[in-house]
């Protein structure tokens, strides 16, 4: 852990820098336009939230291993719309594309929607979004509030009661900026009772310019709803990415997240699950591939509140070169959440002597009639396994690649779309 301090008056200079930087970010956020009356109130409230807080430092427990000092060096401007080309997924007939946080209708495909599905940007579905947008727990967190303070558009997906949507919905966020910009994508997903939907959320970039993506996804599952959510982060190697996925699950709902973090110089994903009803199921699969000087941080929180909750989490990290992976997985089981079955496994593969991992699986349990386990491992490729493959005539390099790919495949196999899964497998194999 490194804390950057200048020799003269160390604390106050850094603090000052951080506080001015946060107010600069807030100014950028506030400068975005807004034409929806009720939204202004939500934005103003979030502005106050941000003003109450300070920019995180490694002295904050939540940011202990993730130093944002490099972000301070980035001179950011407000994002502007730009041209881009959409990368289509053949399986997904419906697509919402946002470039630099702005809706790009030409790159989207929202015609011929099946019954019970409404998708679009905020201005087209403002009334429907009003009772959900910004209402998810954890909205006070500084970067979430910053996103809300600059909320100007959002990808909205509404799945009506009993609607079962067969084809996946593709949400694409492309960053294409000529100078470093603050880009704040926003997603709202509402799955009404007994509905089912598959989402593919992709973050990517055109060009090598540095930028700061601060994205927030709010997902609501009503009773018996099922959401399968794949989130792929392939931002530019110069970018900063801070993402929040907040999910609230009502009784008997089922949520699956497949989070694949491959890009960005520094990325942080906060995954927060709130099980608000009985018999809810949550499955979280995560894969992080960090190379060169990348830092990839995942903080997940699963808060159970009712009996018979089930959670399964598998988080895998492959760390090469001088990269650094951070994982913090919290599971809260209060007294009311009896008969909880919670399992968590974090596995880390270190491929180089300079690679680094900091992991903290954290269980907080008050209920007594529960089954909770967690495990964490840190290791390297087994020499025995490589030798075994070599004895079959496979050279050492290919053997190593095979084993790394197999390690990643356990998570990638969960991605429900063939074309995307293959492209991710290829991506991991290349690196």
């Amino acid at each position: 852990m490194s804390i950057q301090v200048s020799p003269i008056n160390p604390v106050s200079t850094v603090a000052l820098e951080r506080s001015t930087y946060l107010s600069h970010l807030l100014d950028l956020a506030k400068a975005t336009s807004n034409e929806i009356a009720w939204l202004q109130e939500v934005r103003d409230h979030a502005v106050l939230r941000v003003q109450e807080q300070t920019f995180p430092t490694t002295r904050d427990e939540e940011w202990r291993f993730t130093d944002l000092s490099d972000l301070l060096k980035l001179d950011l401007v407000t994002a502007a719309p730009a041209d881009a080309t959409a990368a289509e997924l053949p399986e997904a007939t419906h697509r919402l594309t946002f470039v630099n946080g702005f809706f790009a209708p030409a790159l989207s495909s929202i015609d011929n929607l099946p019954d019970g599905l409404a998708i679009g940007n905020l201005s087209s579905l403002a009334t429907e979004a009003q009772s959900y947008l910004g209402k998810q727990s954890g909205a006070e967190e500084v970067f979430t509030a910053l996103n809300t303070a600059g909320l100007t558009d959002a990808a909205i997906i509404l799945v009506r009661k009993n609607a079962v949507i067969d084809t996946p919905i593709h949400l694409q966020f492309i960053s294409s900026a000529s100078q470093p910009a603050l880009i704040q994508p926003r997603i709202l997903v509402v799955a009404e009772a007994n509905s089912s939907v598959t989402l593919i959320e992709e973050h990517g970039a055109i060009g090598e310019t540095a930028y700061f993506t601060n994205s927030v996804s709010e997902i609501w599952l009503a009773e018996n709803a099922q959401v399968n959510h794949t989130r792929v982060q392939r931002d530019s190697q110069t970018a900063f990415h801070i993402g929040k996925t907040a999910v609230s699950q009502a009784r008997s709902s089922h949520y699956t997240a497949n989070t694949i973090d491959l890009g960005a110089k520094l990325s942080r994903h906060n995954l927060e699950i709130y099980q608000t009803g009985e018999q809810t199921e949550t499955v979280l699969n995560g894969l992080v591939v960090a190379r060169d000087q990348q830092l990839s941080d995942t903080h997940s929180t699963i808060a159970l509140t009712k009996p018979h909750g089930m959670t399964r989490q598998l988080h895998k990290c492959i760390i090469d070169h001088r990269a650094h992976a951070v994982f913090n997985g919290k599971v809260y089981v209060p007294k009311a959440a009896q008969l909880t079955d919670a399992g968590q496994l974090n596995r880390n593969l270190l491929l180089s002597p300079k690679a680094r991992v900091d992991t903290k699986p954290q269980l907080e349990i008050v209920a007594d009639n529960v089954k909770c386990t967690h495990g964490a491992t840190v290791g390297q490729l087994e020499t025995d396994e490589i030798f075994y493959l070599q004895s079959r005539g496979i050279d050492a390099d290919s053997a190593r690649k095979l084993l790394v790919n197999a390690f990643a495949y356990e998570v990638l196999a969960q991605v429900p779309i063939d074309s995307l899964r293959q492209s991710l497998i290829d991506h991991v194999a290349r690196s």
């Binding site: 690679a355 209920a367 290791g379």
Partner: protein, 478 residues
Amino acid sequence: MSTSVKSLVNQPYKYGFVTDIESDTIPAGLSEDVIRLISAKKNEPEFMLEFRLKAYRQWLKMEEPNWAEVGYPPIDYQNIVYYSAPKVTEKKKSLDEVDPTLLETFEKLGIPLSEQKRLSNVAVDAIFDSVSVATTFKEKLAEHGVIFCPISEALQEYPDLVQKYLGSVVPVADNYFAALNSAVFSDGSFVFIPKGVKCPMELSTYFRINNGESGQFERTLIVAEEGSQVSYLEGCTAPMYDSNQLHAAVVELVALDDAEIKYSTVQNWYAGDAEGKGGIYNFVTKRGLCQGKNSKISWTQVETGSAITWKYPSCVLVGDNSVGEFYSVALTNNRQQADTGTKMVHIGRNTRSTIVSKGISAGQSENSYRGLVKIGPKAEGARNYSQCDSMLIGDNAGANTFPYIQVQNNSAKVEHEASTSKIGEDQLFYFAQRGISMEDAIAMMISGFCRDVFNQLPMEFAVEADKLLALKLEGSVG
């Protein structure tokens, strides 16, 4: 919640009596003058006073930590007596001259100090409030070159040895409570095992708090030279008071090449009553330094007492191939709070560590495991295995785990597992079916749950620990 495993009933604490003995107590409060007074009373060498004052000045600048999963009202450090000793403190030549009241006290605690009744093959240093009152088997140990005496005595007789190692593992300003201890500690045990010596018997220190206003600040220093071995055990009890007493100890272990230190603790300070009134705040810094190659430090702890336990016996594995071990059972009942665990810091090559932690929480208690496994960039081939299991009895108890794993070397292997379970109704039924009473069944299950740790304790104490746990949970079913 099953009806058979009901909330726990508080078991009377049988060590809760107060010994009526005249004591030499200084007024409550802390200042440089108080520190000078303590140092003068102990007739300490100059370097000790400097050590204390340095620690005190650092302490003034520090803030009390608040990150642990424990809650307590603010401590008034000016309202604590920093020195209390039974009167007539000049060191006795023979045990026969020790105040009979004191001997009787230790007799009642089950620690006979008189010649005939001594525990066979265990040397005991008995510490009453802040001062060591008796040390047994000193002569026999001296034959082997082993030094086992109160640290105040060591400061008189072996000042160079103490100066060399004191504060070398836990620096004066290491943390808030260690700094406080460094400033005001009054006594403790000093153990020195010379090169190649295997200590012929178990060494043991027994701590007793008697004074209601006093804090206990003892300091233990164990140095094992090249190729030596020692097993050390500490035990502790205190009377029942409505007020809380602060216990802020520091334990430092140094193991040189091929040396082995085994440190066992059976902690049974007064835990407060069922409503959480009274009890000891046990804020302790324990750290072992595996300085030499192939050295080994093993911590075993059975934590059953104290209103609040806050301690992390740690191993700093500097020497290549050195080994650190931590075996812990922490039992909390009623309103007790425990935030305990370990730190294994791997610095040298091929260093290995094992962590086995068992937490049992009953009543309305909070029991947290907090641990750190850190593999430094140069710790090639380092290996860690951690296991922390929690057992919850009743649905008002809490069990938390906060394991930090930090790895900066790709040849390291780290494994961590944790689980939470409870005593199942069907398990109890199975025992009942075989004519085993509920209480015996629970005692057996707890004992089985803790087996991995109890197996690490020296023989006599393993039996004691088993009994202690059964006693603590007695009346837990109804």
